[in-house]
């Protein structure tokens, strides 16, 4: 109980101290304000209907105690009275104050100040003309749903009989250094500020003063500024519509450009990884990439895939490593280049059967050792040497085809492009008998395990592998054409290997 009581007393003291501190702070601000505005001494002001204060500053030259001063006042037709003075420090100087708790208005008041019996100040005043009120409280500013406008409201000073005698000034300026504007309003506690910038923050403050008809006084201090932002500007419908139309046009144009170059963009962004799946049907889908299994399961014999017939495909050439009777008549650069070899081969045709495999390997090694000349055919650089390696008869289904590619590069993929880029064969190149085959004749028979040599002669089939073949190119010398005459032995029949043109599917 005692603790509770003490706590209440403590709270009361704190509240009183806070109120006194606020009043002292308010008094200090008013004193400072009057020191600037009021030239007459003593400076007097009324804060309410009963409160009245007069003060003056002591000169630095004439410093004296408060007891040296006498403050007397009297109303008209009345006796004088004395006011009790007090001293307050003020920035290195002293203030002497007289405070009255009870006043009479609408009558002349005479003030007389003396120091040591000598008159210092005399003044005749009307208290009702010296009001200095506190600034308006609870200033609220809102947009009230109106663009370029703000609605300011505030509470009037809590003083009786003066509601219709109060006048206010509202100051507003854009935050960030805008010009300050002031508007005056009479006997009203709200004001609508018009003509403001949209989407701008404004600082609004208010002060109050009596109108001077019945009561008068000084402008109060400004209230604390209230920052409020005006509503943003409404977008211009014409600008919005034009923006939408232009955006729509740009979108349509972009889509049309995109659609017209869709394939090009698709190739650039997502290049298709070439797969041989379409050439080797079932190799990946059925046999899981097992080529041996795929070959085992494929139909008997070798058959030509439809892709082989496509003009843009570039079958890799099959070099004739050994020829029999047709050897001297080969006009191809490859043949001419290998003419020595072939002559040797021809000359050694009889020996062919002796060690055909060894001859073949030797021939291969010889060709590998030679650097191709720049004038040599591009086809030579990418010739694919085909050797058939199998311990069984080629007629049997179980046939193993081993392809020894040229060491330079996998020219298969460039076959197509090379064909198209060679200037001598620009546009067309009739490749014939690239797929010539060597038929095994009775004059030589492979011996030993490993290879089955297939000799083939030109069957007279010439196939145009160039995608740009033209009729006017027929008269040009085709460097790559191997125009074999069809003097294939009657007994011989073409044994077609299953050739799958591995080409760049690009």
């Amino acid at each position: 109980m005692t603790c509770e009581h003490l706590r209440r007393v403590l709270l009361l003291c704190v509240a009183i101290c806070a109120v006194r501190a606020a009043s002292v702070a308010g008094l200090d601000r008013k004193v400072s304000l009057l020191l600037e505005k009021e030239p007459t001494n003593p400076k007097c002001f009324a804060q309410s209907l009963t409160d009245f204060t007069c003060f003056w500053e002591d000169d630095e030259e004439r410093t004296g105690s408060v007891d040296q001063y006498t403050f007397t006042y009297s109303y008209q037709n009345e006796n004088s009275s004395r006011c009790r003075l007090r001293a307050e420090p003020a920035g290195g100087r002293r203030l002497f104050l007289c405070h009255l708790n009870r006043t009479k208005m609408f009558v002349q008041m005479f003030v007389h100040i003396s120091r040591d019996g000598k008159p210092v100040y005399n003044r005749s005043l009307l208290i009702d003309q010296l009001f200095l009120l506190d600034p308006p409280a609870n200033v609220t500013v809102s947009s009230a749903g109106q663009r370029c406008q703000l609605h300011a409201r505030w509470l009037p000073p809590p003083i009786k009989y003066m509601d219709d005698s109060l006048m206010y000034q509202v100051s507003y300026a854009a935050a960030g250094g805008g010009a300050e504007q002031v508007e005056t309003v009479l006997a009203s506690t709200e004001l609508r500020l018009r003509g403001l910038q949209p989407g701008t923050t404004y600082g609004v403050r208010v002060r109050v003063k009596l109108d001077g008809i019945t009561y008068g006084g000084f402008w109060s201090a400004w209230s604390e500024p209230v920052l409020t932002e005006t509503l943003p500007a409404e977008p211009n419908p014409l600008i919005i519509s034009l923006t939408l139309i232009i955006s729509l046009i740009l979108i349509v144009l972009s889509l049309s450009v995109f659609l017209s170059h869709r394939r090009f963009l698709q190739k650039k962004i997502w290049p298709t990884i070439p797969t041989p799946d379409n050439k080797f049907h079932g190799l990946f889908s059925v046999h899981g990439g097992d080529f041996k299994e795929w070959l085992r399961q494929s139909s008997g014999g070798l058959w030509l895939t439809p892709a082989f017939c496509y003009s843009e495909e570039c079958p890799f050439p099959l070099e004739v490593l050994s020829e029999l009777s047709v050897c001297p008549t080969l006009p191809s650069p490859k043949a001419s280049r290998a003419s020595d070899g072939r002559e040797q081969d021809c000359g050694a045709a009889e020996d062919w059967g002796a060690a055909p495999r060894d001859r073949l390997m030797n021939r291969l090694r010889a060709l590998h050792q030679h650097e191709p000349s720049p004038q040599s055919s591009l086809l030579e650089s990418k010739d694919a040497y085909v050797t058939l390696c199998s311990g069984q008869h080629p007629a049997e289904k179980a046939l193993t085809l081993e392809v020894l590619l040229a060491p330079r590069k996998a020219a298969l993929s460039e076959c197509h492009s090379d064909l198209g880029s060679v200037p001598q064969s620009s546009g067309s190149g009739r490749l014939s008998s690239q797929s010539s085959f060597e038929y095994p004749t009775h004059s030589w028979m492979p011996k030993g395990p490993g290879y089955i040599y297939m000799a083939g002669a030109d069957s007279g089939v010439s196939m145009d592998y160039s995608p740009m073949s033209r009729a006017d190119d027929t008269g040009k010398v085709v460097l790559y054409a191997n125009d074999y005459k069809n003097d294939m032995p009657a007994f011989s029949r073409p044994v077609l290997t299953r050739q799958n043109s591995i080409h760049d599917d690009g």
């Binding site: 209907l49 009963t50 037709n77 009870r102 208005m105 009558v107 009989y161 008809i213 019945t214």
Partner: protein
């Protein structure tokens, strides 16, 4: 013939009565707007200013009794409405008497016009008070019977009292008039 004459007189009587309308006066609407009083106050100040600039022919011939104008709000609020009305009405009567004497004393034409205006305004205040259901004042036989009065000897003091009385007690009375309070609610 006699009947025709009687009828003619009756018709004439009705016409005369209709024209004069000697019926009871209709009640005035309450005048609660204090801007009317503010106007009177401004004109009273103008008269005071004119008096301060007057050099000749602007003095009172004799001292006059005027009401006290000081207002102690604590004391004023403790008085009842009848006391307040009595105080204001007696003061207005005294001022009317004083302005009557001033009007006869002043010879300055400009000040004379201001004084006449002030007298009209004092009468208008009576009308305003009547509109607020404040009964008319019955003046005493002598001003000496009234309390809260004092004597002034100069026109300047009289005009100052006039201004202060209007700003003070008269305004407080009109501000707190019951008729205006009922009208607001």
């Amino acid at each position: 013939m006699l009947q025709k004459t009687a009828r003619g007189l009756l018709v004439l009587l009705f016409i005369v009565l209709e024209w004069t309308r000697p019926g009871l006066p209709s009640p005035l609407r309450p005048i609660c707007d204090l801007r009317v009083l503010n106007h009177f106050i401004k004109e009273a100040r103008d008269t005071e200013v004119a008096m301060n600039s007057c050099r000749e022919g602007c003095s009172l011939s004799e001292s006059v009794t005027v009401p006290e104008t000081k207002v102690d709000f604590d004391v004023w609020e403790k008085k009842n409405s009848l006391e307040q009305v009595q105080e204001v009405q007696s003061g207005l009567w005294l001022l009317q008497q004083a302005f009557g004497l001033l009007q006869s004393s002043v010879t300055n034409s400009e000040l004379h016009s201001h004084i006449e205006n002030s007298i009209r305004n004092l009468l208008s205040i009576n009308v305003v008070m009547r509109s607020l259901n404040i009964q008319e004042y019955t003046p005493p036989a002598s001003a000496a019977e009234l309390e809260g009065t004092w004597m002034v000897s100069s026109a300047a003091e009289l005009l100052q009292v006039h201004v202060n009385f209007l700003r003070g007690k008269v305004r407080l009375l009109l501000l707190d008039a019951q008729a205006c309070q009922q009208d607001v609610s």
